[in-house]
Symmetry: C2
Subunit: 209 residues, 2 copies
């Protein structure tokens, strides 16, 4: 198996770090680039420490988002990436870039989609009073967190836990689920159900790790 | 603890049976009536076998749904019920009846709300391609499956399972979760968070059974 991936980050980059630690350079998976939406994103420094090519694509440096996404798409193509991973990328991608990368972008979202798409998903879930929360890794389509679901994991919302504690649990699950999804894709074990393209079939149910 | 409950059914009544077997006559909880939305509902026969007063309130027998719900509300009041449990009741209740029973109606729904409200929730979840499904017990408000959540339980959707197998798992969880919610309410362990009435606080976390 082999897979060249580009990771997009906006913030801390802890999911990027989980990918660097958990899949980069292992079993043919290589992170060939990290792009950030803002120059202060600590994720850029994590990339540099791991000697991964890093670049910043801030909308302010371009005429508009479409122009930025065009340049970003060119850069991704230049790295010969086969998969783009949104790991805390906080901006909507333009329709053009999503179409250009069709079927080869995944995202990790801190909720059990289709519940609580969009920003502040954990806070949304807490305010709604759910008793079960979770994490979703999904393909990115033109909508907001609406693409086909690859992996999900649920957890019981701890009684009277602080938002910070719940975020900690969510992030812990993200740091397992996202590398797992990348490994499954690298093994070519992930495919769409020909009968319903919303349904993602995982061929190896007992993938280790 | 004590609690007089009325159970509303439309179909098989397996959740009613779980309540008859799991809570009726135990620890002060009494099912004081079962009402069905149609005369053929097998739930009515289950009630009669358990010697519980049973009645049918079919819309066709009334001028309209409001009239039916008025009569149903009178009947519920006549049984001195403190809690109404929708256990496979397939019809929307009129706003008037929901307001009349304010805060004292619960429902069991075969999905992890707020995902997949309404009819055919299991089929909706499968068609959406979720990897985690579940069951919710919630208070009923004026919306469709939109009221405050009391209990939820998730399960990993088995790979390539038939709809029938998934329904079996869901019903198994329903048959545990609904009696558990009724027991918690009987113990007065369920209350709304004064800071956010959408959030339901469960005072006894380690309730047995």
């Amino acid at each position: 198996m082999s897979l060249r991936i580009v990771v997009l980050v906006s913030g801390e980059g802890t999911n990027l770090q989980a990918l660097i630690d958990g899949v980069h350079g292992q079993g043919g998976i290589e992170i060939v680039g990290v792009a950030a939406s803002r120059p202060e994103a600590p994720g850029l420094e994590r990339a540099r420490r791991a000697e991964i090519p890093a670049a910043c694509f801030e909308i302010a440096d371009f005429a508009d988002r479409d122009a930025r996404d065009g340049a970003l798409g060119d850069w991704i193509e230049g790295q010969s990436a086969e998969l783009v991973v949104l790991a805390g990328w906080m901006q909507l991608l333009s329709r053009g870039l999503v179409e250009r990368l069709a079927g080869a972008i995944i995202n990790v979202h801190p909720a059990l989609l289709p519940a609580f798409p969009g920003l502040h998903a954990i806070e949304q879930a807490i305010a709604h009073g759910v008793k079960v929360a979770g994490v979703t890794v999904h393909f990115v389509d033109e909508g907001v967190d609406s693409g086909p679901i690859i992996l999900q994991r649920a957890f019981d919302l701890p009684y009277a836990a602080s938002v910070e504690r719940i975020e900690e649990i969510v992030h812990g699950i993200e740091h397992e689920l996202l590398p797992r999804a990348v490994r499954l894709i690298a093994k070519r074990a992930v495919r769409r159900d020909p009968k319903n393209p919303r349904v993602v079939l995982i061929e190896e149910e007992h993938e280790s790790g």
